[in-house]
């Protein structure tokens, strides 16, 4: 829309647009930046009154304390335990839900069968049932099965929770692949299964990555169900761990910020990795029916 010689009024418009966009985005990013900065500042600066706005010193104290490396402070949060639990659960549930969800997504994208739309809708609606409604009956069931405080039990729940969104994404990604290619494979004598493995799946690999990342983050971030199903320190995942930290001890804002930073790491890595696919993954299906 904007090209060639620009009239002065238009130029002013452009400058205004750019400035406004920067202001909005900085306002949006500032709270996040503040959390990260706080985690790296000395405690004396944080509690200072009047407040010190610009950090003068960078320190890793908060992290050292958290992992028990500070000899003067008794370690108060089992961060390593939470980390290992969260990672285990997220990895197991991501692998399984992506494998199962990709198969279903392929079936929805490529095959016509009875109740096609109904089945798809049913799957989506299962996603909209809030965790609050699921966690309590699941807790009772898990008590009977002896799965409370069991990492596999939580992973199992997360698999089911992640499937609908995986199917929605993979259905879209498979639809993007021209059917001609698959058809050509059939003509060359490939079975459905071979066509899936050799043609469609490799082409949908970027989509698979996106789906895996969404599943991982959903499991990594989940709080409601985890806080009901993992009650002991040994089984607790990161989000309930952070919550317990904010409730239980004398208020240590910096420690909590440091914990938040650790919790953000996978998300940061993944957002950087998937910037492009993210937008595509979320929006197609908008125009293609």
């Amino acid at each position: 829309m904007i090209s060639g010689a620009v009239a002065p009024r238009k130029r002013l418009n452009i400058v205004l647009t750019n400035t406004l966009a920067w202001i909005v985005l900085i306002a949006l990013a500032l709270p996040a930046l503040w959390i990260v900065l706080t985690a790296f500042r000395p405690a004396s600066e944080i509690n200072a009154s009047p407040p010190i706005w610009i950090p003068r010193e960078i320190t890793f104290d908060a992290f050292a304390t958290m992992f028990g490396l500070n000899p003067n402070v008794r370690q108060r949060v089992a961060v390593e335990r939470y980390l290992i639990n969260s990672l285990t659960i997220a990895l197991i549930s991501t692998t399984i839900s992506v494998a199962i969800g990709t198969l279903a997504g392929y079936a929805f994208a490529r095959f016509k069968f009875r109740y096609h739309t109904t089945a798809f809708l049913l799957l989506m609606f299962s996603r909209s049932i809030p965790g609050v409604a699921l966690s309590l009956p699941l807790f009772l069931l898990f008590v009977r099965l002896g799965l409370v405080n069991n990492l596999l039990g939580v992973s199992f729940v997360y698999v089911a929770i992640n499937i609908p969104f995986t199917v929605w994404l993979m259905d879209g990604f498979f639809r993007q692949i021209p059917y001609d290619l698959t058809e050509a494979a059939y003509i060359d004598g490939c079975s459905h299964w071979q066509a899936f493995w050799r043609i469609d799946l490799p082409l949908a690999l970027p989509g698979l990555t996106t789906a895996a990342i969404f599943a991982f983050l959903a499991s990594w971030n989940e709080f409601q169900i985890a806080s009901v199903l993992t009650r002991s320190v040994d089984a607790r995942t990161f989000p309930p761990g952070l919550f317990v930290f904010t409730e239980q001890f004398t208020v240590d804002w910096r420690g909590m910020c440091a914990m938040s930073v650790i919790m953000m790491v996978p998300a940061i890595v993944f957002v950087i990795l998937t910037q492009r696919n993210l937008v595509r993954g979320l929006t197609f299906g908008a125009v293609k029916g």
Binding site: T17, L28, V132, L136, F223, M264, T283, G289
Partner: protein, 285 residues
């Protein structure tokens, strides 16, 4: 190929749902074994109690208000921001990265962050307001009415703005430029172009954004639990926090189940509504 997905979902969501429906018609209390027996004479007791429960009515009202304000405000803000970003000439890439920053925060982290910012004693917001001389006294953000609800709404909007904006931005950038050129030839102004081209053409993207959003409405629970936990005196009680209080803290499972079914209905209503709109606009185009 679809079977494994359905079996799993049946176990993890189908079973709890059916069980909740059953329990909601009993007077099940976790502390009283054997109280989960169905009795026809008291089957609607939980629902009667809920209708007459002023805290429930308050939490329901709060939830509706909360959803109405956040979803609408979020959409309008995202629409504005996406139009702004579509016109930016320099630094689009870095701006998009900045836009994604809130997406790195889990809901529980968003809750923690704003709980700290709105803290009356050491919070960023009060510190800033005091430094700028806007206020002389410390404002009890998370305590006063209606500031508590406003704080929670701000946190929720902050968390959801990026996804909505990104979807609308992708939609805006995918619109064919010929239409704009034609409109310009006809002498249409910026507002007219937005009103008659951009906005209607964005409809499928709007409903995708709202469908995705509606799948996650209940994630507001994490934020509220962290910021105020429904308090003080139920001022910020949402239906999700009240369910948790009744069922987990008070062990009143039957009552909690009855109420969680109401949350399911709210979520389903949102999803069905937006999804149907999405299907409709898809067919029109």
């Amino acid at each position: 190929m679809i079977l494994p997905s359905f079996v799993l979902i049946l176990i993890v969501t189908g079973f709890p749902l059916l069980y909740s429906i059953y329990v909601s018609f009993t007077d099940y209390n976790l502390l009283r074994p054997g109280s989960d027996v169905f009795r026809a004479d008291i089957m609607f007791r939980n629902y009667e109690r809920l209708i007459n429960d002023p805290i429930f009515r308050r939490s329901l009202g709060n939830t509706i208000l909360f959803l109405f304000v956040t979803v609408n405000l979020e959409y309008v803000l995202a629409l504005g921001l996406s139009q702004l970003l579509a016109r930016v000439t320099k630094g689009q890439g870095i701006m998009r990265t900045m836009l994604m920053i809130p997406m790195m925060f889990a809901p529980i982290l968003v809750g923690f962050q704003f709980r700290w910012f709105f803290n009356a004693e050491v919070g960023l917001v009060n510190n800033a307001l005091l430094s700028l001389g806007v206020t002389q006294t410390k404002i009890a953000w998370l305590v006063d009415e209606p500031l508590g609800m406003i704080a929670i709404m701000i946190a929720t909007i902050w968390m959801n703005l990026p996804v909505t904006t990104i979807i609308l931005l992708a939609g805006t950038l995918s619109l064919p430029s010929e239409m704009y050129e034609a409109a310009e030839v006809d002498g249409a102004g910026a507002w007219q172009k937005f009103r008659h081209i951009t906005f209607p053409m964005l409809a499928p993207f709007t409903y995708i954004a709202l469908t995705i959003r509606s799948l996650d409405v209940a994630r507001a629970f994490d934020i509220v639990r962290m910021m105020t936990d429904g308090g003080p005196a139920h001022r910020t009680e949402l239906i999700w926090t009240y369910v948790t209080r009744l069922a987990i803290e008070d062990s009143r499972f039957g009552m909690g189940a009855a109420m969680s079914l109401i949350t399911v209905v709210i979520s389903l209503f949102f999803t069905v509504y937006f999804f149907r709109q999405l299907v409709k606009v898809r067919i029109v185009q």
